[in-house]
């Protein structure tokens, strides 16, 4: 799976798991903030901590990648691109 494919798969997962009805996965921006205040209005998704838990679980289920707790998770969850980077790094064969 190349980077673009992976990002699209993550967007589809976001829409499905967080029940973002009516949102087109392909229209989600790679770099927009996913969480926090002003999200939806500010072009992001406006997700919250309960979404983060659901997302972490479904990433683990789908890609076999564990999301660490705390600050590290915050950084991974800042955008679709950051999640995709974390997934591909975690899945890369170790040298």
């Amino acid at each position: 799976m190349d980077g673009e494919e992976l990002r699209l798969a993550i967007k589809r997962l976001l829409v499905k798991e967080l029940n973002l009805k009516g949102r087109d996965p392909e229209a989600i921006d790679d770099d927009s903030p996913l969480f926090g205040a002003g999200g939806a209005a500010g072009g992001g998704l406006g997700l919250d901590s309960l979404d983060a838990l659901q997302l972490a679980m479904s990433l683990e289920e789908t890609f076999g990648v564990r999301i660490p707790d705390g600050e590290e998770a915050r950084s991974i969850f800042r955008s679709v691109r950051a999640i995709a980077d974390h997934v591909s790094q975690s899945r890369a064969p170790r040298a």
């Binding site: 798991e17 967080l18 029940n19 973002l20 009805k21 009516g22 939806a40 406006g46 919250d48 901590s49 309960l50 979404d51 838990l53 659901q54 679980m57 683990e60 289920e61 707790d69």
Partner: protein, 738 residues
């Protein structure tokens, strides 16, 4: 409060629990009740050995008694023993709070049923599944009770049981109440709270800088409450005085507390005010104090707001570091502990608190209990999922005359009975596959052909972003509640919501458990878990509508909606809330249709996603806003066991234009009506599906009530006797045109 009984992880009985609390003991260890391996955290606060409690068998099938019910019976017996209460000499009511009910016993079966449709047949284990099973067992063991109610508002359930009891006593409807809560540990809650990352890897440490979550516990707490005059007249020995109370909804988020704690602060102030107390009179607060980052921060902030400068003096502790978070029982167990703190002038500690979080400026009671000269008054806080918060205020017993309690009488003079509000119905709505019906359509429900609706999916009425966490139950509940409020012409504002649900989120619980068993608890769905508590639809509706009143779920099998309506009547009469949306929801469920329904309710029913609700309001509030009043609720009657007294009390219709509306046209219901002065009034049974003849689900009573009220409002009847008659329980009201 003249009696109390406790079953907690620290021990069976009040003294075992109290001694453990004061010594700072912590009953937290790896859970052995079920296989907890594979869970992120497998620690819990488990109750030790319990006596065997059996129930009458139902026909040929053995009745399984849930662990929740066993703990409830043991605690309730202790409370009645301490109060020396003679159940037959007095009108005693029963309020039971629980959230897990018989889940521990049925969860493997539910998970299996989800995977295999062939298994969806009757099982003896299912007998203890409905959360009403505990109330029914208490009735069997300790009754008779003149009324019994089962309520759930997640982690504030137990505190709400005491609040309901206070409302009944204040309205003079009973002489005494046995009120409390019970919840056993189970896989469902352990898995769910783990999925939410809400469990501390070690024993929980409320208010600590390093706190990482709560620890789940189990137990039961019951108390006997009675009015001060009657308690004194029978020379009972009061433990403490339940002097004030307040409940409301944050309407903020399904799992996260509102960070500033403004609603919780308002409730603490109201509970104190009701008790005729100020923060200066307060010596102790038993905090909700779960040990999660967010709860403890919110609660400290709410305490600072509510107590002002007194927060620097009033001792605060949480019992959860010792007994864990006992969920639906917590509010009742901790209320009993708070009453003991007042009675015994001894503060109980926050065990596990080693390094107080400097951001939470509270006066702690570290490690062990501490004797103090006096505890004049104390608060007990209970906050639940969906933002359903309840605060109780206790004060010490004063020998010199009436306690400062019972504020309504305090103002009016103790000899006068409190002035009660009169409930009226100002709105009604039903929602289901036939469409959304308001008052006008409900008024034509008995006409040939019935109302014509357009089937519309709930999505058409809901904002998809704000409703994205809704399950089917929350969707029908919210659409119906919003429409009823619109029909009543009023904003949600301070409205409370009470919805009956006979079996709770059965299908969703089965799916959640099946997934956890199949894929392992780590892959349980965090977002699904909050929807599994019985009060989740109410919580979602309150958040969506911005309804800040006291909200909860009720259950009474086939009459669950009626019990919710009666809950609203009680709280409006007692002045706890000016306005309620009350009714019931049904959900399409193969498990309920095939396994649970036939055991407890009707035979062959295909339940569907539907809801029926009315808006109940105090006549005073309705008139003040110039509302259209459909009907006044002139009289109400509920019974357990025999219906003879209720039939006698119904009274005669005032004149012409009376009708009888039956929820179920059974021979027993007809016999009931025949014994009243309404025997010759025209009698109707509402076609269960408003236009479609079929057997009804458990929301049918609430839908029928909407029809009865709408008919009086439309002038089809001047007066209406509404009867919901089940073999062993029933509800009736007289609705009158105004």
């Amino acid at each position: 409060m003249t009696g109390l009984g406790l079953v907690t992880p620290l021990g069976v009985g009040v003294d075992a629990t109290w001694n453990g609390l004061v010594r700072g003991e912590r009953a937290i260890a790896p859970i052995t009740l079920f296989d907890a391996s594979g869970q992120r955290v497998s620690l819990g606060a488990q109750v030790g050995e319990l006596p065997a409690v059996t129930a009458k068998s139902a026909g040929a099938t053995r009745t399984v008694v849930s662990r929740t019910s066993v703990m409830a019976v043991v605690a309730a017996e202790e409370a009645i023993r301490m109060a020396k209460l003679d159940m037959r000499a007095r009108r005693v009511g029963l309020v039971v709070a629980t959230t897990t009910g018989g889940m521990l016993e049925t969860e493997r079966l539910l998970a299996a049923m989800h995977a295999d449709a062939g298994l969806r047949r009757l099982h003896a284990e299912m007998r203890c599944h409905p959360i009403t099973a505990t109330a029914d067992l208490l009735e069997e063991k300790l009754g008779p009770f003149v009324r019994a109610r089962t309520i759930a508002s997640a982690c504030s359930s137990g505190a709400n049981a005491l609040l309901v009891a206070a409302a009944w006593l204040r309205a003079g409807e009973v002489d005494a109440v046995l009120a409390g809560g019970a919840d056993s540990l189970c896989r469902l809650t352990l898995t769910g709270f783990n999925a939410l990352g809400a469990i501390d890897p070690g024993p929980c440490r409320p208010f600590d800088r390093d706190r990482k979550g709560t620890t789940l516990g189990e137990g039961a707490g019951f108390v006997v409450l009675e009015g001060p005059e009657r308690a004194r007249a029978r020379k009972a020995t009061p433990v403490a005085v339940l002097a004030g109370w307040a409940a409301g909804s944050e309407a903020h988020h399904i799992t996260n507390p509102e960070p500033g704690g403004s609603l919780a602060a308002g409730l603490m102030a109201r509970a104190l005010d009701r008790a005729g107390l100020s923060a200066a009179d307060l010596d102790y607060v038993n905090a909700h104090g779960t040990g999660t980052l967010h709860n403890d921060a919110m609660e400290a902030s709410a305490l600072a707001r509510a107590l002002g400068p007194e927060v620097a003096r009033v001792a605060v502790s949480s019992s959860k570091g010792q007994i864990g978070h006992t969920l639906g029982a917590a509010g009742a167990i901790e209320a009993a502990i708070t009453a003991l703190v007042v009675a015994r002038a001894t503060l109980v500690p926050t065990a596990g608190l080693e390094t107080p979080d400097p951001a939470l400026r509270l006066v702690h009671v570290p490690r062990v209990g501490r004797r103090v000269p006096r505890v004049r008054a104390a608060l007990s806080n209970a906050f639940g999922f969906g933002g359903m918060d309840t605060v109780l205020a206790f004060s010490e017993v004063r020998e010199d005359g009436p306690p400062r309690a019972l504020p309504s009488t305090a103002r009016a003079g103790v000899a006068d009975p409190p002035r009660l509000d009169i409930p009226v119905i100002t709105g009604a709505a039903t929602f289901g596959p036939e469409g959304l019906f308001g008052v006008a359509a409900c008024a034509t429900a008995l006409d040939a052909g019935g109302p014509r609706g357009t089937p519309v999916d709930a999505d058409a009425y809901l904002d998809p972003d704000r409703a994205r966490r809704f399950d089917r139950a929350a969707r029908v509940a919210t659409v119906a509640a919003a429409h009823a409020l619109a029909e009543a012409g009023v904003e949600a504002g301070d409205c409370g919501i009470a919805l009956g649900t006979a079996f709770g989120a059965v299908e969703a619980s089965a799916a959640f458990l099946h997934r956890a068993f199949e894929k392992g608890p780590r892959l349980a769905a965090p977002a699904a878990f909050p929807n599994l508590v019985p009060s989740a639809p109410v919580g979602h509706a309150s958040i969506y509508l911005g309804a800040h009143g006291p909200s909860l779920a009720t259950a009474d099998l086939g009459a669950s909606g009626e019990s919710a309506f009666f809950h609203a009547l009680d709280l409006v009469r007692a002045g706890e809330s000016d306005r309620f949306v009350a009714g019931a929801i049904d959900l399409a469920s193969d498990i309920v249709d095939r396994a649970l329904g036939p055991l407890f309710c009707e035979g062959a029913v295909r339940r569907r996603d539907e809801a029926g609700v009315v808006v109940v309001e105090s006549e005073r509030a309705a008139r003040a806003r110039g509302a259209r009043i459909l009907a006044r609720v002139a009289r109400s009657f509920e019974w357990r066991g025999g219906d003879v007294d209720a039939a006698r009390a119904v009274g005669a219709p005032g004149g012409d234009g009376a009708e009888v509306i039956l929820v179920r046209a059974t021979p027993a219901a007809a016999a009931f009506v025949a014994r009243t002065a309404w025997a010759h009034a025209p009698r109707h049974t509402c076609a269960p599906r408003l236009g479609e003849v079929d057997v009804a689900g458990e929301a049918h009573g609430a839908k029928t009530l909407a029809v009865a009220a709408a008919r009086v409002g439309a002038g089809h009847a001047r007066e209406s006797l509404f009867v919901a008659h089940w073999p062993d329980r029933g509800y009736a009201v007289v609705l009158v045109a105004v």
